[in-house]
Symmetry: D2
Subunit: 146 residues, 4 copies
């Protein structure tokens, strides 16, 4: 049986339960057939020594973009945990927001893999990531209240 | 001419100028011949849906651990920017702190590569990362005040 | 000035000058606006213990798919060398051929990054890779005869 | 119960059953508490356009170095398959052999992760890799004859 995918409102609610995402102001902007678009508005406390967005914020949003896509894919009924994240940085982001568009390219029995395009507010490609999540089958450690 | 490496006190000072590191409470704990040890005390606002440390915080500290090692290696005289970060997650971290020990394994003319062991407060290996930095030769975008 | 891209016939000729590609029977099947499609027919001497295509062959074709796309992008006028390859394996390939479709997603001053979809003969996605090439500016170590 | 590790002679025998390893002349040189050292003598048919060792051969030996370490770790009693390989290339190898020393840094219930140092015949570090293997629990697809 195919799981019903989570609607946007529900995904937004869930993302508000994740403390680190919330502290970064992460927002689910859109859902797609194969993934999601999320964004983080840039704040001054997210910058690095060079004054641009810290790579750690981009890594966080890339990780989250695939995690939220997996969550949605399984209708919130399956827990998952990142086992691997790889991110390439192309250009610095200094203003506005960072936008991450994830696509699930593989959902297996144990692992799910997604790609992520990272863009700045003007739509320039700023980075690219691949994340692998392990799908947990055991009594999930998280209980999502409905 | 070999650059003189930055001492611990100076590295700590620099890390305080990086807004995102500061907002995470990142601390340089130790310098080594080939890298640094840095740590972030875990706060509740760094957790994910499962209640453990968000992978984005681990990615941030891994990225920073290599960046700070490169900064130190060149005596703070050379700017650098992450071009690639790859991180494997082995086990969740729920309490205490996350500790990152970086080692520069390659410093070339254009690129520097470092590995990072991520551990929890008890010393268990929680993850492993590899980061590649591009060494900037052009008039550096950052000016580090001494 | 924008470099003229290499035509298919020229790319094929070049690929025949690469001993390892030749020994694997690598063939350039198609060029695209943003990359190339190449393939390797599976031979029994390319299998692993499980009897399926060795991951090293997939890694080789992924690496080559981006390298050939870079070669083409610069009209064969610029040497390049792989600095980083990351590949995810989704499903084993046992018969027919392995097909790699590369896309250059970033061409900077020093680095070029491409993604690769790996498919089996039936068109099933068997893996996904990202490769980073350094663009060499110094007197190239290779001289491509025209 | 802890599995007895495979001795060197047995590992060598197994590696001879892997067609692609055999066709590259891969040899298990040494076993270690935490991994193995394997090597491939460089032949002219392993070169790329620049005349140096093709990155695909290095990727193959990196993949194999972790796979053989996993095989040994479980006494040959457990099948495994690569899910992810990441390799950084530092310097070209032109003569002699490529040597890969793997270390298993994580063996979990489902995944095993190893790092690999790639060196040339003179002992110079030529690259670094991380590979993730999925441990197969189902009736293994391979049957290793003893």
């Amino acid at each position: 049986m195919k799981q019903e995918k989570l609607p946007l409102a529900r995904l937004r609610q869930l993302s508000e339960h994740m403390p680190f995402n919330r502290s970064l102001g992460l927002r689910v902007a859109k859902t797609h057939e194969d993934g999601v678009t999320i964004e983080i508005p840039i704040r001054d406390d997210m910058r690095n020594l060079a004054g641009v967005l810290h790579g750690g914020v981009s890594a966080t949003i890339a990780d989250a973009a695939v995690g939220i896509a997996v969550l949605r894919h399984f209708g919130g009924e399956r827990a998952c945990t990142t086992v691997d994240l790889k991110i390439n940085y192309f250009r610095p982001i200094s203003e506005g927001k960072v936008v991450a568009r994830s696509k699930l390219i593989r959902v297996g029995n144990h692992l799910a893999v997604g790609t992520v395009e990272l863009k700045d507010a003007a739509g320039n490609l700023a980075g690219f990531a691949t994340a692998t999540y392990m799908l947990l089958e055991w009594p999930a450690r998280i209980k999502i209240k409905k």
